[in-house]
């Protein structure tokens, strides 16, 4: 069954970490990747990411589809970045080493270096997101959100959303087929307006049938004492271990390093050209 969380159950130290600490790590890691363009740090992060992949026993083929999509997206991005501003590297680094070409479509070492940093940012960030998605059991995630201080009603709302997403996907699929049979155009054959109208004719019944479900769910929850006490326990709860604390400290250090490098460099960019 397809789910938002593409959880792959394998025994590994990373799987044994709590969802909350992995979530915190993810946030810190992406903050670090976001705030700096320091090539040295950005080069280190993908390497670390690969090491974690290895420890998590996630194989490349488990995520190859998503990787492919990300790769394609990244490629398009790079081309557009270059086309819009082939001289962007010079604006950042202040120097201009022309490698070849001329006029508007000049290729400079600075722009290539800038694009390299861009690629590094992507490949330090994406594998960690995938790692989080593949190693976090969604129910355990909800439990650990509650543990790090998020109210349990909100944590459970997250769990419920994850629980019913496959159902709603299934509904969507069925409604869409039945509506296509009535002649609604959803394929590329129809124009944009036609397809938008078509989408509406699926959304209306989808929303109506989902609304009907909400009453059942809220009754079922109330009849089994949801909200009875100020706290609740979790079947899937897991204790924090040393590795959780260590991982969070480690990623916090990465953020600190990113900030420090930005200060030392005097900007977000590491400049090898001067």
């Amino acid at each position: 069954m397809r789910n938002f969380f593409n959880y792959i159950d394998r025994p590994s130290p990373i799987h044994r970490m709590t969802g909350a600490s992995k979530f915190v790590c993810l946030l810190l890691w992406s903050t670090a990747a976001m705030i700096t363009y320091d090539t040295r740090l950005l080069a280190l992060m993908p390497v670390l990411g690969l090491v974690f992949f290895f420890f998590a026993k996630i194989r490349l083929k488990d995520v190859s589809f998503t990787m492919g999509l990300v790769g394609a997206f990244l490629g398009i991005n790079l081309i557009l970045l270059y086309l819009f501003s082939p001289d962007h590297g010079t604006e950042i680094y202040g120097t201009r080493h022309v490698l070849f070409g001329g006029g508007y479509f000049v290729v400079t070492a600075e722009t290539l270096f800038y694009l390299l940093n861009y690629v590094l940012k992507f490949i330090s960030f994406i594998p960690i997101v995938l790692l989080f998605v593949c190693t976090t059991n969604p129910s355990e995630f909800a439990a650990s959100l509650n543990r790090i201080g998020i109210p349990y009603s909100i944590a459970y709302a997250v769990a419920l959303a994850l629980r019913y997403i496959p159902d709603i996907q299934e509904d969507y699929h069925e409604i869409s087929q039945a509506q296509q049979a009535r002649g609604i155009e959803l394929s590329k054959k129809g124009g944009v307006i036609k397809r938008l109208k078509g989408a509406a004719s699926i959304l209306v019944p989808l929303v109506m049938s989902s609304m009907a479900r909400i009453e059942v769910i809220s009754n079922a929850m109330e009849l089994r004492s949801f909200g009875k006490k100020r706290k609740r326990t979790w079947y899937m709860a897991r204790p924090f271990r040393a590795l959780d604390i260590f991982a969070m400290l480690f990623t916090a250090l990465l953020v600190a390093a990113a900030i420090l490098l930005n200060v030392l460099n005097g900007s977000r960019f590491y400049n090898p050209f001067v």
Binding site: E174, A200, A220
Partner: protein, 580 residues
């Protein structure tokens, strides 16, 4: 700890629920839904509450589990006590520690990501510590035999298994009363029978009082119940033993179907008394004279003419299908449906019924085998093109409706096909008249009842002038009156010349309305015969997880070996009476 005290004085078993002059009117309703209810449910008792849709039985359940007055607001009159305390003075959480409810919708009420979490839900909310949580979940799962599926997500469980999870989810809390709201509504026949047996076992193991709300009384009476409470229009019209109920004539006026063997006995002119123990076929005692009456009724049946056979319309040859995950959903299915027929496709969930119909409609790509409409290979046609010949009606009408006005909804398919305005109006009027909703044509969709919506969705497909109509469970969750209304309507459609294919696990429907039945199991087509033949073939029934009809048992009891003809005669007799 709670404000509930047990008042078990004297020798009589203590009352769990005590209704006296109880009534309830929902806030948005003009009239009360329950009037002057007097009812006592004792400790350890097993009570069946039956009645047609809208009789107030759901409101009665909501009153018992505390959703009334705590979730549904309204005017309450008289008194309803749980172990001697007014329920209104307790909280819904306090009530839920004594009263466990298994709701009808086995998917919707599954709030956990996995079976184990769903079972643990009530305990989690009660802050039970983790080790104890795991142990209690295991124990409860063992009671309902679901312990091997604890890590499964709801999508990986069958309807029956999800219902077991729901049962375990209330058993963990050690309740005194188990309430089952229409437990058979979404189950295939064999799973329904298992559920009835399991409920019986649970009661014996836990000693809890059991209240079952269901309109299919024959199926519930597969295991003994102490009492049946019959409701109609917000009143209790009968409260007594099942034997007394079945020997009375209370059921038909309420729109509840009598067990088929009871109806057959009545057609044969047998007077049913309480002493005959009519509650179930296994307790029923018939005198030789009664048996002779039944045999005479059968052997003196008139010759009935058969429906003329049409030319083959839809033909499938060696159709196989596997889903992406390698699960084989259909293997080597060949069948032929003739023009003007009404056929049923039966089998338990996952048997391949839905996959087959999706292949026919083009919702799934056909990779192996051929499906032909007359001489035309369907493979070349898109979903939309097939829809001009083959109409598909989904189980839940709300999943098909995208417009707010009936007119727009029914005309949608025609407009999308760009037909001229006069043609649209002509077809629209014709189809609305056929479907009996011409009188409602200016109403908004929201004002229609479930049955009317069903008609409207059928109308919105019929308007496209298909030759074949495929319906997925057209009567799911409907009581006998609505079931009859929908099915008689489909019969008219069929008589107008449209071939009708019904996917169902309702054995009555197959027996009464289908000319032929295709029985699927594990992706294979294992039988192609009449409903009466299917339901009187124990080996086939066993293989396909169906359930024999009680007419089969009655025929054997009365020494009639031609059980399937017996069942067919019964159906024909019933139809003749209905049309008189």
């Amino acid at each position: 700890m709670s404000g509930i005290s047990e008042n078990g004085g004297g020798n009589a078993p203590a009352a769990v629920f005590e209704f006296s002059h109880y009534g309830f009117q929902y806030e948005a309703q003009q009239e009360p839904t329950l009037y002057d209810i007097d009812l006592v449910i004792h400790k350890g008792e097993k009570v069946l509450i039956a009645g047609p849709s809208g009789c107030g039985k759901s409101t009665l359940v909501h009153s018992m589990n505390g959703l009334i007055p705590f979730a549904y607001k309204g005017k309450r009159s008289g008194s309803l006590k749980l172990f001697g305390t007014e329920t209104a003075d307790l909280g819904i959480f306090e009530i839920s520690t004594r009263v466990g409810t298994v709701l009808q919708d086995s998917d919707g009420q599954f709030v956990g990501m996995t079976a184990a979490e769903d079972i643990a839900f009530a305990l989690e909310n009660d802050c039970v510590s983790e080790p104890e949580l795991h142990e209690k979940v295991r124990t409860a799962a063992g009671l309902v035999h679901i312990e091997d599926h604890l890590s499964h997500a709801p999508g990986e469980l069958s309807g029956g298994q999800r219902q077991r999870v729901a049962m375990a989810g209330v058993l963990v809390a050690d309740v005194d009363v188990l309430l089952f709201d229409e437990p058979l509504a979404n189950l295939d026949p064999a799973a329904g029978m298992d559920a009835v047996e399991l409920i019986d076992q649970l009661q014996q193991k836990t000693g809890a009082a059991v209240v079952i709300v269901e309109h299919r009384i024959e199926d519930v009476l597969h295991r003994a119940v102490d009492r049946v409470v019959l409701m109609d229009r917000g009143h209790i019209v009968f409260d007594g033993t099942p034997d007394a109920l079945l020997s009375s004539s209370c059921l038909p006026p309420c729109g509840i179907r009598e067990p088929l063997y009871i109806a057959a006995l009545r057609y044969a002119g047998v007077a049913i008394t309480e002493e005959m123990r009519p509650a179930s076929l296994s307790t029923l005692r018939l005198s030789e004279e009664d048996k002779k009456k039944v045999a005479d009724w059968f052997y003196e049946r008139p010759q009935r003419k058969k429906k003329a056979e049409g030319a083959p319309l839809l033909t499938a040859e060696h159709v196989s299908y596997s889903y992406g995950n390698g699960r084989k959903a259909l293997s080597d299915v060949s069948l032929s449906i003739r023009e003007g027929e009404c056929v049923a496709i039966v089998g338990k969930n996952g048997a391949g019924k839905t996959t087959f119909s999706k292949l026919v409609c083009g919702f799934l790509p056909l990779k192996e085998g051929k499906i032909r409409l007359r001489e035309q290979d369907l493979d070349r046609l898109s979903i939309k093109e097939r829809a001009d010949h083959i109409g598909y009606v989904m189980q839940n009408p709300n999943q098909m409706i995208s417009k707010t006005m009936i007119k727009d909804e029914v005309q949608l398919g025609l407009r999308l096909r760009g037909l001229p305005e006069e043609e649209i109006d002509r077809r629209y009027e014709k189809v609305l008249r056929v479907c009996g909703i011409w009188g409602f044509r200016n109403w908004p969709v929201s004002a229609l009842s479930f049955g009317q919506r069903k008609r409207m969705t059928v109308a919105s497909i019929l308007v496209l002038d298909p030759e074949i109509l495929i319906l997925d469970e057209p009567t799911a969750g409907q009581d006998y009156r609505h079931y009859t209304e929908i099915m008689e309507f489909l019969r008219e459609v069929n008589e107008a010349g449209i071939t009708v294919v019904i996917i169902t696990h309702d054995m009555h429907l197959m027996l009464e309305y289908a000319d032929r039945a295709f029985v699927f199991t594990g992706g294979e087509l294992i039988a192609d015969k009449t409903g009466a033949e299917v339901l009187t073939d124990p080996a086939l029934i066993e293989k396909a997880s169906l359930k024999t009809t009680s007419l089969y048992g009655l025929a054997l009891m009365c020494g009639i070996p031609e059980a399937s003809e017996f069942a067919a005669h019964f159906v024909a007799t019933e139809r003749e009476r209905k049309h008189q």
